[in-house]
Amino acid sequence: MATYSTNEFRSGLKLMIDGDPCAILDNEVVKPGKGQAFNRIKIRNLKTGRVVERTYKSGESVEAADVMDTDLQYLYNDGEQWHFMHPETFEQMAADKTAVGEAHLWLKEQDMCTVTLWNGNPLAVTPPNFVVLSVSDTDPGLKGDTSGGGGKPATLETGAVVQVPLFIAIGEDLKIDTRTGKYVSRAKD
């Protein structure tokens, strides 16, 4: 079992805490001039996304979490699972609903995604920062209105609903920022 000592703590380090893989966001050494030192860490639970604080006596060791990020190509969804493939080894991998989470709104076939693996199994899926998706449904566009002043909802091919300018029509390709879930622009050819 791999472990990390408190003096190896730094942000980004992955630890097993209460049976869940967690990532350190912040590490603070609390060391009085005289007396016991502590490491106070802020951690994100990689399964639930919750952020909590923990304190360890300096010098203690904590079990390491076998967590790594890999870039995989999204292939298809079979109704239950999302399938990904390594672009060089062609090894395939399936992620369930918990791992994919909100990312399913932005997954387009052939796109490269970051899949976080825990003990070799998908733990989380992060879509690219920007994706191009086509509009499957929206109210008819208003001719001549290119001001972008108003807005209307549009349903994209993945099922995601985003606010778009009034001039956008069905079938158009749009660039979306997946981190904010917001429309950026029309996709340029």
Partner: protein, 352 residues
């Protein structure tokens, strides 16, 4: 070459890369350090406290189980002689007390000190300590001089509320609702559990560890901050009368039927700045404390530290005196409102 960028700015960083060969402190703060040291020296000059210089390298060191010294080896030129172990000092306390015991009168020193493992937002393994001793004074008189010096140095840079003097017992009473001198282990366990710190220490550990845990998590962050209706304002806070078990090198006395240590610490804005004592001048008591420290080290699996006989033989000759050590980098952090100690050191550990 000549891309139009102003290379003379030297702010330590460029947009995309941290150049480790450049200083992490700005020249503004490098100048602030020089100016602060100048002011401190002027203060002691005016008050007729003698500046002294004692060895950084010593054959013995402090046995405190929570302070680890850097160790190094002296290699004699003749190969028939054995190499000798030396330590880099963690504070100039022992040789300064040898000077006091020899009749130096009041003295001060500004020196680099070294502590293993202490690295982080408020720590650098090598740092600058201002240490001074007042011959014939007790710690209360020294606290008022420290207050005077800190106000002189800090006032041009930050606005401070009125200085606070509070006892260790008072802060534990008001923040945790316990008397730290008499509280039972059971109450301490309940108290740490209430704060979500239940698993940090094991039940069998010394009660001082629990007090240190409560102090560092629940009390220290609020010390040196005055809170009123208009908001928060920093102030100097002196915390005194520590438990006798945390006396370190301070005298202990009976106070309200309780044995307490005549020790104090200084806080500003939730950060410790220094530690001081009404100095213990009883050799046999000092030997006992060192022996206990070494015993604790053994239990913790740490190496035993050789007794500093040069220091121990001076202890009985030490006059009544009070002394304090203040971290210069912490002081500069307060003055410049820096979040990280690296902002006040030209080349911190990672760049050294």
């Amino acid at each position: 070459m000549g891309t139009g960028k102003d290379a003379s700015k030297g702010d330590g960083y460029d947009a995309f890369r941290i150049d480790l060969w450049k200083p992490s402190a700005s020249f503004e703060i490098i100048k602030l350090r020089a100016e602060t040291l100048r002011q401190i020296r002027a203060f002691f000059d005016k008050n007729e406290v003698l500046e002294v210089d004692t060895p950084v390298l010593s054959c013995a060191t402090v046995p405190d189980p929570f302070i680890e010294s850097f160790q190094t080896r002296y290699l004699p030129l003749t190969q028939t002689m054995q190499t000798e172990e030396y330590y880099l000092h963690t504070s100039p306390e022992f040789p300064m007390k040898r000077l006091l015991a020899s009749g130096s009168g009041s003295i001060y020193q500004i020196s680099k000190v070294f502590r293993q493992g202490e690295s982080g937002r408020k720590h650098n393994p090598e740092f600058t300590l201002l240490e001074w001793y007042r011959d014939g004074w007790d710690h209360h008189r020294l606290m008022s001089e420290i207050n005077h010096l800190l106000l002189t140095v800090l006032s041009p840079y930050i606005e401070l509320s009125e200085t606070q003097f509070v006892s260790y017992a008072d802060v534990f009473q008001s923040f945790c609702g316990i008397n730290p001198h008499t509280v039972s282990k059971t109450e301490l366990l309940a108290c740490v559990e209430k704060l979500g710190l239940a698993d940090v220490l094991e039940e069998h550990e010394h009660r001082d560890r629990f007090l240190e845990l409560l102090f560092s998590h629940n009390i220290e962050p609020s010390l040196g901050i005055e809170q009123n209706q208009t908001g928060k304002k920093p102030c100097i806070c002196f915390l005194y009368n520590y438990p006798a078990s945390q006396a370190s090198l301070a005298k202990t006395v009976m106070h309200n039927d309780q044995l307490i240590a005549e020790r104090f610490e200084i806080f500003i804005n939730g950060m410790e700045l220094g530690n001081g004592f009404h100095e213990l001048n009883d050799e046999s008591e000092q030997r006992n404390r060192f022996a206990n420290d070494n015993q604790d080290r053994k239990v913790m699996g740490l190496n035993e530290i050789p007794m500093d006989e040069n220091f121990l033989q001076a202890v009985d000759h030490l006059p009544e005196c009070a002394g304090v050590a203040i971290g210069i980098e912490r002081l500069l952090m307060i003055m410049s409102q820096s979040k990280h100690i690296n902002e006040v050191i030209a080349f911190p550990f990672e760049r050294a």
